[in-house]
Amino acid sequence: MNRVGLERKVLSENDRLAGELRARMAENDILCLNLISSPGAGKTSLLERTLERLEPGARVAVLTGDIQTDNDAARLKRYGFPVRQITTGGTCHLDARMIERGLAGWRLEALDLLFIENVGNLVCPSSYDLGEAAKVVILSVAEGDDKPLKYPSIFFKSELMIVNKTDLLPYVPFDLASAQRNARSVHPAMDILRVSCSTGEGLADWLVWLRARRQRIPRAPVSAV
């Protein structure tokens, strides 16, 4: 028997495609964010509240993933920006190939910001690089404040945690301080924002975060002429 060392990533094909997507985003100066949460935590609501606050000419597009239905795309199209549904037909996460197909025909040079709304799931999307600049995890206060400890992978890999539905805090046993402590124990440098998509509380901070984050996207190397 002959042992051969490999030391290769299992998802190398996905990672290769994600790398190509990331390079295209950089060339076109696009901030691409991958939004991840459990089902019902408010990814689509956050996008709706975000899109309605942007000026009509904003260069924004959304790819939204679900196992079935195009309900989310129908909700998001009302704001007048380009939106496409990716229906995975059973797959519990988006992968880089789905993003590549989803972008087909779009003029990337006409965009500054691309949101990818992943399939509602705190586990599987964490394994797949989509070429995004950052993952953003959304945790609603209707869930447990120990979610960061139960699903450390996605909280570790996300740059920002948005605690949503803060208007419900008086009615649920969610401990905000504990949620923040848990998130930072998994990911000490994590940014944390608190929002309510129902009342609008905290959304201004999210827009400030978006603007600041866009200033930090890696620019494509300028080719020597």
């Binding site: 042992r3 060392g5 490999l6 030391e7 094909e13 519990c92 996460h93 394994s127 450390p152």
Partner: protein, 122 residues
Amino acid sequence: MHEMAIALSVLDSLEKEARRFPNGRIAKVGLRVGELAGVDSGSLGFCLEAAVRGTEWGPVIFEIESSPRRHLCERCGKTFVVTEYDIRCPDCGDGQTVFAGGDELELAYLEVEENEPCGAGT
């Protein structure tokens, strides 16, 4: 449950690797799964066995090694395993340590056995 998708990616990689060993058969595959990879090792092992059954790959043993979260202390240079989310350096107590591994999802090694000579060309 994306372990089946990951198992199929492993088989895709094996198909590419197998071309390097035209006179051999891959008998064992070593994988490394970090605790922050978001992949359940038990479930991945089950999916790999199911995915490989009935394929040309024949019986293959999958050995999955778990890899804990590690941090590096930039002050004293020690690399250590993080337990209970405590990222302080166990030697010097410094709290500003940096992530140094534990999110891997890797093919670590293959074990290849030589085929019977008459197997060539079939």
